[in-house]
Symmetry: C2
Subunit: 348 residues, 2 copies
DNA sequence: TTGTAGGCGTTATCAA
DNA sequence: TTGATAACGCCTACAA
């Protein structure tokens, strides 16, 4: 950054004042400027390979053109998809995206909140790592626009984009029930997260509607990671296995498959497994995983669009807290057909 | 950003001058400052929830504390791993990482180069999307520190961290040969990339050492993506299949597996498949993929450390262009054992 | 149509 | 031990 070319160098080279250069830079030359003057400036800019200093510019303009995404775990394909959705919209609107991976740590999340505030971001898309974090409200106090994505937090006054997780849990369970499964286990996500709670609630509703029950030892709580799913399934192996297991996301479902296979069971012949998210990995799993597609990419796009709307909205205009619920879709794995016959047999 | 709290507000509240506040902020209070003064300032900062404006700070300090990573495809797990390695080191040294996903597009790469220059990054870790890009040299002309990672570019005068891809290609091929495979096909990566060239060269060397040959129709070039691997394998299906196929990365290997299975072949019973990278997905594939581990995370760490060394080095000190070559490791899939017998049978 | 000058929030030099 | 003040590079009234 030392010895950088400034607007002053350009002005000298072009033989004009710095204001003239600035006007060319900001496209305010159209109306009142001699074409030859503009030409000289453009020429000087090219010769010196000048590019404006964003820091000086932001300081003056009082607007950074940066938005932050605070996510709990970028290595989870679901969130990287969501992120791509955000970037797609941001790129088109000339916003820079600052990605912050909290790695499921509250401490890191807080450090990033501080960084985003120092960065003076124009807005933040927040995917919470935990049930609550008081620090997040600093954004609101500072007037930073905030949009929540994927995970609902009731106590924070911000608009949000979420999926219909309750329905997701319901239709997936209903699907398995239709296939003939009666004893279904569930690997929960962290129950302080709305997605985990809703998916489980949907599960319970579908089960309850048929007057069925679930054994306590067939319900485990894990942390949405591959390893967590692996461990939860392994714990279930201690007792009598259910006929099928629903994991609250695909990563855990795949972990569960691994655990079961490592213990000599084959999926889906011996036991059925299903998940949520429909991450790309789910399509690769063999056999194809039964799952509920949560539109991550779209969620990212919608969240960014909602954020833009808020940023550009008239501050005076009193809006109500907008909530957008995205629809979900059942993805039937080929496992299903194979299983149904198997299960029916074992039930005879 | 409007109505933000500034150092001036803090000074007024604490009843001191802005210079005093600045000193507290920068930890220069240790030596010569009354503890009670410092205390008053700290108190005011807390009461006002003040946080320094990074833009003003950078403008003054002439140093951003930001480094850029320019990568060809973040959705490839290999690069997201590498990125995590970079972030790990950056975080510890209080650097912010600006991630730029060129999505294998030269146009996007160039747009990001411009953005990184405007951002006045202190350094850039560059993973090239193509064989050459003149624009990259702008970094050097601007005095931005540059480190290349993963992919060698001979014509750019910058230090680099790469893997021993030649050896990787060699030991993987040697392994398959030891298992008894004789007709081995190869799905190349983009041959303008050093990794693709080296891995293929290593393959040829191992083949040549045994006096064997490879049929032309058993060599295809693809683009390092899942879909590319799928298509390349499908093309091979038109002729006589080899006994095994090596794909220049895991993503393509998994694509190839998919293609073969979609066409009624089973892996590894009918044909062996191997790849490079050892991405997390490789461990999940069933059966476990034979691959060569390229230490992506470590590569990211090393690249960032090399960058830091360059940034902090005395500018006058004339260094030579450092090149670090990371070692690779063969990962034997369970496929191997199964295959060897099968293949021997078919060779009788 | 172009130029002058003040100020954005901070740091750092010099004086007190 | 503290305070006043001049930059840092850019934008934008206001003047010319």
């Amino acid at each position: 950054m030392r010895g950088q070319v400034t607007i002053k160098d350009v002005a000298e080279r072009a033989g004009v004042s710095i204001s003239t250069v600035s006007r060319v830079l900001n496209g305010k030359s159209k109306d009142h400027m001699r074409p030859e003057t503009e030409e000289r400036v453009l020429q000087a800019i090219k010769e010196l390979d000048y590019s404006p200093n964003r820091y000086a510019r932001v300081l003056k303009r009082q607007r950074t053109g940066v938005i932050g995404v605070l996510a709990p775990d970028i290595s989870n394909p679901f969130f990287s998809q969501l992120l791509r959705g955000v970037e797609n919209v941001a790129y088109r609107h000339d916003y820079l995206v600052l990605t912050c991976d909290a790695e499921n740590s509250l401490e890191k999340e807080n450090r990033y909140i501080e960084i985003l505030i120092e960065e003076r971001v124009d807005g933040v898309i927040y995917i919470s790592s935990a049930s609550q974090n008081e620090e997040v409200e600093r954004f609101l106090r500072k007037g930073v626009h905030l949009v929540m994505a994927d995970r609902r937090l009731e106590n924070i006054e911000a608009p949000m984009v979420v999926a219909n997780d309750l329905k997701a849990g319901y239709i997936l369970t209903e699907h398995l029930l239709e296939l003939g499964y009666r004893e279904i286990g569930f690997i929960q996500g962290p129950m302080d997260l709305s997605t985990a709670r809703d998916r489980f609630q949907g599960f319970l509703q579908a089960i309850g509607k048929r007057g069925l029950e679930v054994r306590k030892e067939h319900i485990k709580e894990a942390d949405y990671t591959f390893e967590g799913g692996y461990r939860a399934a392994q714990e279930m192996l201690n007792g009598k296995l259910p006929q099928a297991i629903i994991a609250a996301n695909d990563l855990m479902a795949i972990g569960a498959i691994r655990a079961l296979e490592d213990n000599g069971f084959s999926v889906p012949q011996d036991i059925g497994i299903a998940g949520f998210d429909n991450i790309p990995l789910a399509a690769l799993a063999k056999p194809r995983l039964t799952t509920v597609a949560i539109p991550a990419y779209k969620m990212g796009q919608e969240a960014m669009e909602m954020l833009l709307k808020n940023i550009n909205a008239n501050a005076g205009e009193n809006r109500q807290r907008e909530v957008k619920v995205l629809e979900v879709e059942l993805i039937k794995g080929i496992s299903a057909d194979v299983q149904s016959s198997k299960v029916h047999q074992s039930m005879v």
